[in-house]
């Protein structure tokens, strides 16, 4: 880990802390990091789409033609059409020609939705409907290995899955008001849905916390590099950089506390 790379790593940690400072309030460090990532990620997309998207799909195909013939003499001139249509999309900016951009957009949406219709019907409806018709196993109704209410493979569970899915589907039935028996069936349906959402809620909480832990591990790795004297190009600069950043945080905290303490009374920070 060279010193230059360690400086970049410190900048990465600075970016992390700048974004975390959003938790305190929307401060200049956060705005700087936010706009920097907006610009850099936009630039990154331009490069990735140029090198991975346009070059292999368009330029290399037209490569064996010559630019002064507008690539019409290339072995695959038909790729000029999507290029032209793509350029047509840019008429969006001019007021009077913006209707021209509707043709490529119409093609884009026509192809995308046309592809989705049979695919969604096959994968989401047919296959799940087929799975819904699996037989309910009445011999092991209360658990495959002896009496066990909580056995997911028992007949009872299969029955609950079937009834729950049916009622949930009926909840999404819009042609009949939810009253009487129909209302009660829809009620069971929305209850099943809520349990389903509760389950994915629980998993999402775990997911978010592991993202935060990942940030702790990154900061920990940065600290260890700062004091790792086994590293061959280690010199006193490493800990200095570490302490400079730490000092910066402390100074910023003090400035904020001082500002907070003697702020004018009427602009008391609303209990956010």
């Amino acid at each position: 880990m060279t010193f230059g790379m360690y400086l970049w790593m410190t900048f990465g940690i600075f970016g992390t802390l700048a974004i975390f400072s959003f938790l305190y309030k929307d401060n200049p460090f956060y705005k700087f990091a936010e706009h920097l990532v907006v610009g850099v990620s936009a630039g990154y997309f331009v490069i990735i789409l140029w090198h991975n998207g346009l070059t292999p799909n368009l330029f290399q195909r037209l490569a064996d033609g010559d630019w002064y013939f507008l690539f019409l003499n290339s072995s695959r001139p038909e790729y000029l059409i999507p290029a032209f249509l793509g350029a047509l999309m840019w008429t969006r900016f001019s007021q009077q020609y913006s209707w021209l951009s509707r043709w490529p957009m119409a093609m884009y949406i026509g192809i995308a939705t046309g592809m989705a219709v049979p695919l969604e019907m096959a994968n989401r409806i047919n296959k799940q409907l087929f799975a819904m018709m699996n037989p309910i196993d009445f011999e092991h109704f209360f658990g495959t290995a002896g009496f066990d209410l909580l056995d997911p493979t028992s007949g009872l569970s299969q029955l609950i899955v079937f009834v729950g899915a049916m009622c949930a589907l009926i909840y999404f039935y819009f042609s009949k008001a939810h009253e009487g028996i129909f209302g009660r069936v829809a009620k069971i349906g929305i209850y099943t849905l809520m349990i389903g959402f509760g389950a994915s809620f629980g998993y999402t909480v775990m997911a978010r916390i592991s993202l935060f832990i990942n940030r702790i591990q990154a900061i920990e790795a940065w600290r260890m590099v700062g004091f790792d004297n086994t590293n061959e190009n280690y010199h006193s600069g490493f800990p200095i950089v570490f302490w400079v950043l730490m000092l910066g945080i402390v100074v910023y905290a003090i400035v904020e506390i001082v500002q907070y303490r003697n702020r004018p009374p009427e602009t008391k920070q609303p209990a956010a």
């Binding site: 956060y30 990532v37 990620s41 884009y108 819904m132 018709m133 999404f172």
Partner: protein
């Protein structure tokens, strides 16, 4: 009938050919066993039974399926069969085609790297090679008809003992090494092979069989029926809706909330924030969101409240501008529309959310409406909205984000209710027609599932197999 006749003749021919092969086979085998006298001399296994070959169904061609009965010595008898080797008859002409192919592939690669040193224009050299290669390929069927002379059986692949079915599938790419041409007569032979490679027994040769692409995939008939019936239902209900038939749609809690939330915003004189989510213009949730946006924009234009629509995707931005402009037109206030109501922020998910959060904290909108496709940032939006003290109405079909919207927002449209909202709010007879079509389809699905479970639990899986989709 035609096939039956030709099959019988061929069989007669084959019996002769096999008998001829049979006679010379043991002699070589005997010679080998004599040589490897020290190893345990394994008796040649019984041949594979009634080998059948036919074109693989429901594919784009370039594939032939072989089926056979296991040789009695595989699993039974003296169990000496280790594997089966599949052979196909290749005309020698095939080797010349392969040479031209290899030359063309290397020429192309070198052309891309610019190291193709050939007299004259390298592009023309490549184009000439391509035309020669395609011309050779077109004469392949004749070469295959010269069976059995000037060609030989070559190993395609070895499959372990116990397999009764093998699919000889080649890529459709003409430049691939193991390209399998369509419409050529193929002849196959399967050898039962023992541990000692040389001790084997060939089956009788089967053929001619041609591989070709089908024009309809029978495995997907069920999907086609569902799509066609659903399409007809949609057209039928839309016609009825157009002809003014009153179509009932049950009230949806989340949708009423949108109307009185706009009223609240007008009283308090604070703006309305409408977030179209992270989907592109082709995503169904975003398209549904456009309709709700046009309704909200029309009401906002009438009440002259401020509307803010930060967008994530360029096409969605341009479409939303179009939608809001026509909404202001319909409300009779074209001059109130300004280019900056709908503006593009960024293509990066979290930079977008941070910017929208900034707007929420600065502008303090009375109502936040989140309709469309949302991912991990949904909670960030809902939480900041709660801090800014606005009424929040959300709707998405992304199941992973719904739990957060349900517990953090005042009203949430769950999955399909978003699509129903665009029909209900838009009050377009046409959209209502499509919604009714969906309802009928749902009722049908529920019915089929009910019958299916009863029938399959009673023991017969006939009804269930009606709905089987073999890709």
């Amino acid at each position: 009938m035609k096939y039956l006749l030709s099959a019988v003749i061929v069989l007669g021919l084959l019996a002769g050919a096999v008998w001829a092969q049979e006679s010379d086979q043991p002699s070589t085998a005997a010679a080998d066993t004599a040589v490897s006298a020290d190893t345990v001399s394994v008796a040649p296994p019984a041949p594979v039974g009634n080998l059948r070959a036919y074109d693989s169904d429901n594919d784009h061609g370039h594939a032939v399926t072989l089926e056979w009965e296991l040789s009695p010595d595989d699993g039974g008898g003296d169990n000496s069969v280790l594997m089966y080797e599949v052979f196909r008859w290749y005309p020698y002409f095939w080797d010349t085609v392969q040479e031209v192919r290899a030359e063309l592939v290397t020429a192309r690669q070198r052309r891309v790297q610019g190291t193709l040193d050939v007299e004259g224009d390298p592009d023309d050299y490549v184009k000439e090679l391509v035309s020669r290669h395609t011309e050779l390929l077109s004469t392949l069927p004749e070469a295959h008809e010269q069976y059995p002379d000037d060609g030989e059986f070559r190993l395609v692949r070895a499959v372990p003992a116990g397999t009764e079915k093998f699919e000889d599938r080649g890529p459709k790419d003409r430049l691939a090494e193991d390209f399998l041409p369509d419409y050529c007569d193929f002849y196959y032979r399967v050898d039962a092979v023992t541990i000692d490679e040389s001790v084997r027994t060939p089956s009788q040769i089967v053929g001619p069989v041609q591989s070709y692409g089908q024009w309809f995939n029978t495995g997907r008939i069920v999907v086609l029926c569902f799509v066609l019936v659903f399409g007809l239902l949609t057209i039928l209900f839309v016609q009825r809706a157009r002809s003014g038939a009153e179509l009932y749609v049950r009230p949806i809690a989340g949708i009423e909330a949108v109307d009185d939330a706009i009223g609240r915003a007008t009283e308090m004189g604070r703006p309305i924030l409408y977030v179209l989510g992270l989907g592109t213009a082709a995503d169904v949730a975003t398209i549904a969101s456009f309709t709700i946006l046009s309704r909200v924009a029309k009401q906002v234009a009438e009440y002259q409240t401020q509307l803010i629509v930060p967008t994530y995707d360029p096409i969605v931005m341009s479409v939303a501008q179009e939608v809001v402009k026509s909404a202001y037109l319909d409300a009779g206030r074209p001059d109130d529309y300004s280019q900056d109501i709908v503006y593009f922020v960024t293509q990066s998910q979290f930079a977008y959310v941070a910017a929208v959060n900034g707007v929420m904290l600065r502008e303090r909108p009375a109502t936040n409406v989140y309709m469309g496709m949302f991912h991990a940032e949904s909670l960030l939006l809902a939480e900041t909205g709660a801090i800014a003290g606005s009424i929040q109405i959300s709707g998405t079909d992304q199941m992973a984000q719904l739990p957060f919207f349900i517990v953090a927002c005042d009203y949430t449209l769950i999955g399909e209710e978003l699509y129903a909202a665009s029909a209900y709010l838009g009050r377009e007879p046409v959209l209502l027609g499509s919604l009714k079509a969906q309802d009928v389809a749902k009722a049908a699905v529920v019915l089929f599932a009910l019958i299916g479970v009863i029938v399959t639990t009673a023991g017969s899986s006939v009804f269930q197999n009606l709905f089987k989709v073999t890709d």
